[in-house]
């Protein structure tokens, strides 16, 4: 820094020449910029949780006998509705596809209290701002005879599990 005034102005005019000072300044600048970028990125990595402490997405809902034929039982803590039609069982989400409220069962299917979306018995949108149908989740029979729902796996609506 102290030597700066001694430098002749010719260097500034011919900006093309790469002096040692310019090279060092450029490397330092890139180093600072890179460090800032990396630390900003690592902050995002930090605040994105690796484990979550909420409910697991794959869980048991009990024996098939708990759901009598023809019943539609909502498990509000799990946010699903277990539908049993004869010997076929399916799990439909009760989280509104609009903005995440819990839909309530109504005579015609499901109705959302937050923004007035309506769904039919199979979860298809029949009214309101909901952009898509309620998803169906995979239901499987675990070796211990209990039903297992996996909310990470969405299946085609209308696919039931025969029990």
């Amino acid at each position: 820094m102290a030597k700066e005034p001694e430098k002749p102005s010719t260097e500034q005019e011919s900006g093309e020449t790469l002096t040692r000072r310019k090279m060092l300044a450029w490397i330092t600048g890139m180093g600072v910029f890179g460090s800032v970028t990396v630390s900003a990125f690592s902050n995002f990595v930090f605040i994105k949780p690796r484990v979550t402490y909420g409910q697991p997405n794959r869980f048991s809902i009990g024996k098939p006998e708990a759901f009598p034929p023809g019943s539609r039982m909502t498990l509000d803590t799990r946010r699903i509705c277990v539908v049993r039609d004869g010997n076929r069982i399916a799990a439909i989400s009760t989280t509104c596809t609009h903005l995440g409220c819990i839909v309530a069962t109504s005579e015609t299917g499901f109705a959302c209290p937050c923004h007035g979306s309506h769904y039919d018995q199979d979860g298809n949108v029949t009214g309101g701002p909901a952009p898509r149908a309620l998803p169906w989740y995979q239901v499987s029979l675990a070796p211990n005879g209990e039903l297992e729902v996996d909310k990470d796996i969405e299946i085609e609506p209308g696919i039931y599990l025969n029990v």
Binding site: T52, Y53, L99, A111, P113, C114, H115
Partner: protein, 445 residues
């Protein structure tokens, strides 16, 4: 003086109170112009203000004190917020009980919570009104464009602070408002889902979300607001004080006696300094040294010396006005907090959303739009509105009509802005009063 001290050997004790006082407040109450300048210069809190302030800036009917009220509400929020932190625990099992404790056992607990809640509502409203004032008087125009941008940032931070605070009582209102609000964020293209996950720290609102909102509410956002407020105020000074009509800055003929030093700040980068002193005497040099730094500010002209103009000394004129606004603000918050209790609904019941589930009143316009389309109502239109607000000073470059309410030259800009305001208020009213269970149209009568 030295004779007197030797005459009274214990004078360092008898003079102790006045010595301490004078070490803190270096000036006696001023009785001259020099004293009034010195008072402004030597006091930490007063030196943020100019020594002299334009009469136009002191007009109540020009500013309505809205910016100051916003600041004072923020201070009230900071003080009551810190006090509430002594009793609050950001835990899903304890938060609601702590709310009940504030009601039942903590001394002044309910009162502090009321003050915090009503000041928060007030701040959202007053910051918005302040923005309306600035727009309708054309105060965002050159050289104040960037300060308008900072102001829009402060408005958004105010909303976000309020939104994060909304979850903390962990009651039904809180839980469902945040469930809906963060779902709106997830509709944003590309990053929407990630933003929601980062905000909540989980796939749905729970303990992680409560902790995150708490940290944002009590640490991150207040620091950002403080920083932006500092920049906002600094820019007000550096942009030549509050906006005013051009004719308010007419330069008066300079007096013959005692040549004044006049600093004409160029609107661009360099500032040209014209010294009207006949020859560089010691006095003129001193004047330049004393006033030079304060003189170089943006704005048409900054006058130094006793040039007749329309400015008055900040002490006591501006200080008195600020104190008055402060007293009115505090009194208003206290009175409202005495008569109205902050609402607290039932504790969170994840299984049963209230019907209808409504966001706080200032988000009900948003929620009304969301009931038509989640993307356009919750993300698309608000984003476009914010971008237009941010760009307003860069789109509207006509210099006319600054410093007057509803200036004729600004009829188009003001009409557009008023349309924006009225549409948003109407949507808010519909969401507040005309929406019942299942968000169906109901009549409030």
């Amino acid at each position: 003086m030295s004779n007197q001290t030797s005459a009274r050997p214990w004078s360092f004790i008898t003079d102790l109170p006045s010595n301490i006082w004078r070490s803190i407040f270096r000036n006696p109450l001023p009785d001259s112009d020099h004293g009034r300048s010195a008072t402004s210069f030597t006091n930490f809190f007063l030196h943020m203000q100019p020594v002299k302030v334009h009469r136009h800036s002191l007009r109540l009917t020009y500013t309505w004190g809205l910016g100051l009220i916003s600041l004072f509400l923020f201070l009230i929020l900071a003080v009551t917020g810190v006090l509430l932190m002594f009793y609050y625990v950001p835990s899903t099992t304890q938060a609601y009980d702590r709310m009940l404790d504030l009601r039942g056992t903590v001394a002044f607990g309910i009162f502090l919570r009321n003050m915090h809640r009503w000041a928060a509502h007030g701040m959202v409203a007053v910051v918005f009104l302040h923005m309306c004032r600035v727009f309708l008087t054309g105060a965002y125009k050159k050289p104040r464009e960037f300060n308008w941008v900072v102001g829009v940032g402060l408005f958004l931070l105010t909303m976000f602070s309020s939104f994060t605070g909304y979850l903390l009582p962990w009651d039904q209102l809180a839980f469902w408002a945040i469930t809906v609000g963060t779902s709106i964020a997830s509709y944003a293209p590309v990053f929407g889902k990630d933003v929601k996950f980062l905000l909540l720290g989980d796939s749905s609102v729970g303990q992680e979300a409560l902790l995150r909102f708490y940290v944002l509410h009590v640490a991150v956002l207040p620091i950002l607001v403080t920083l932006l407020v500092a920049i906002h105020f600094w820019r007000v000074r550096k942009d030549g004080g509050l906006s005013r009509p051009r004719e308010e800055d007419e330069v008066f003929p300079m007096p013959e006696v005692e040549p004044a030093v006049m600093v004409a700040a160029a609107s661009g980068a360099g500032a040209t300094i014209a010294v009207a002193a006949p020859k560089p005497s010691l006095k003129a040099a001193l004047q330049q040294k004393l006033y030079g730094i304060q003189g170089i500010v943006r704005g048409p002209f900054t006058k130094i010396g006793n040039v007749p103009d329309k400015t008055v000394f900040s002490w006591p004129n501006l200080v008195r006005a600020e104190l008055l606004v402060f007293l009115i603000t505090v009194a208003g918050v206290l009175i409202v907090s005495l008569y109205f209790n902050a609402p607290l609904e039932e504790p969170v019941n994840i299984m049963h959303p209230p019907n209808p589930a409504k966001a706080p009143w200032y988000f009900l316009g948003l929620q009304e739009m969301v009931s038509y389309s989640a993307f356009w109502g919750g993300v698309g239109i608000p984003t476009i509105e914010v971008i237009i607000l941010l760009l307003a000073p860069y789109l509207d470059r006509k210099p006319g009509g600054v410093g007057k309410w509803f200036a004729r030259e600004r009829l188009l800009a003001n009409s557009l802005f008023m349309t924006f305001v009225v549409v948003n208020i109407v949507l808010m009213m519909i969401g507040t009063f005309f929406r019942g269970p299942n968000w169906e149209f109901v009549s409030p009568w």
